[in-house]
Point group: C2
Chain length 153, copies 2
DNA sequence: CTCATATTGACAACATGCTGTCATTCTGCG
DNA sequence: CGCAGAATGACAGCATGTTGTCAATATGAG
């Protein structure tokens, strides 16, 4: 059944499945954290990127590991809702900079406050030490998966 | 910046971010594993569920943590491509059972063979022990996140 | 048995993110 | 300086998965 895999292979497969399931729950939790502010995980991410420093849509895409087209769609919605404005970019005529409005800053602060309460509670429940160790393995897996190219056939 | 969070809260936040990023890469890798067989992660999951035991679309949705509507769309595509058939369900007139065809079984076996090679290589690179430990933390986080309801406001 | 309730599949609308393509704008090499 | 190539935003199309709704079918309490 689960075989013709090595023990280490089985361990990785189980790890991968649990990571995928946890990611689903984290996504749901993120949406729940953003919802009272009328936002979603995707909008929160773009807001946070633009708050960190004014940047173009393509910049944010690279920072978030998304395509610029995906960020563009979300950013246009954020602009429509008055949370960001597209500011002129002295370095590039077409690539306007996303800048948070006061409303956008307030929304982001509200989400961050809720996120802090949530993360603190879960951090306490799970324990800092185990989380740090697990994070190391997750990051190692990230790098290994990136490096491990999958053969065409 | 990253504060008004406790150290454990920061550890959880960093863990969550790395898990979400890894999940993205795992999703991409899963698609790459399924692609030579002309499939995607989503179809692979449904195929595997139906292979485990013939089940209705709603059953598969529960097993996979998805809505039955989402599974339905994928299952209809699998049927169109001849990988599954809807068999009569003696226990329920409307809820037909998904059953793999010979072609579906062959496709699933091909994907699983590729997945085994991939998982073995990553398991070896990362080490069985660390993976087992990290999996424990991930599962603990899964349960904790499920339990930790997010307040409405 | 009967009827309120739950389950199931079908259909529609939407959110998110991807790839592909195009025209416009920058950038850098010669 | 001038032009090839890269970067960017705009637009279209697709895949995945969600919520909401409806009618048909099971199920269970009385």
């Amino acid at each position: 059944m689960s075989s013709d895999r090595t023990p280490a292979g089985n361990a990785f497969a189980a790890f991968a499945i649990s990571v995928l399931r946890l990611a689903g729950h984290l996504q749901t939790a993120g949406d729940a954290l953003a919802k009272p502010a009328g936002q979603t995980s995707a909008r929160w991410q773009v807001l946070a990127a633009a708050d960190h420093a004014p940047m173009s849509v393509a910049d944010a895409g690279r920072a978030l590991g998304m395509t610029r087209q995906g960020v563009q769609r979300v950013a246009d919605l954020l602009e429509r809702d008055g949370l960001i404005v597209y500011a002129e970019n002295p370095a590039h005529q077409r690539a306007k900079l996303m800048v948070l409005t006061d409303g956008g800053k307030a929304v982001l602060a509200a989400i961050r406050a809720r996120q802090a309460v949530w993360a603190d509670a879960l951090g306490e429940a799970l324990g800092e030490k185990g989380l740090l160790q697990a994070t190391e393995t997750v990051i190692a897996a990230l790098q290994a998966v990136e490096k491990q190219s999958i053969p065409e056939r």
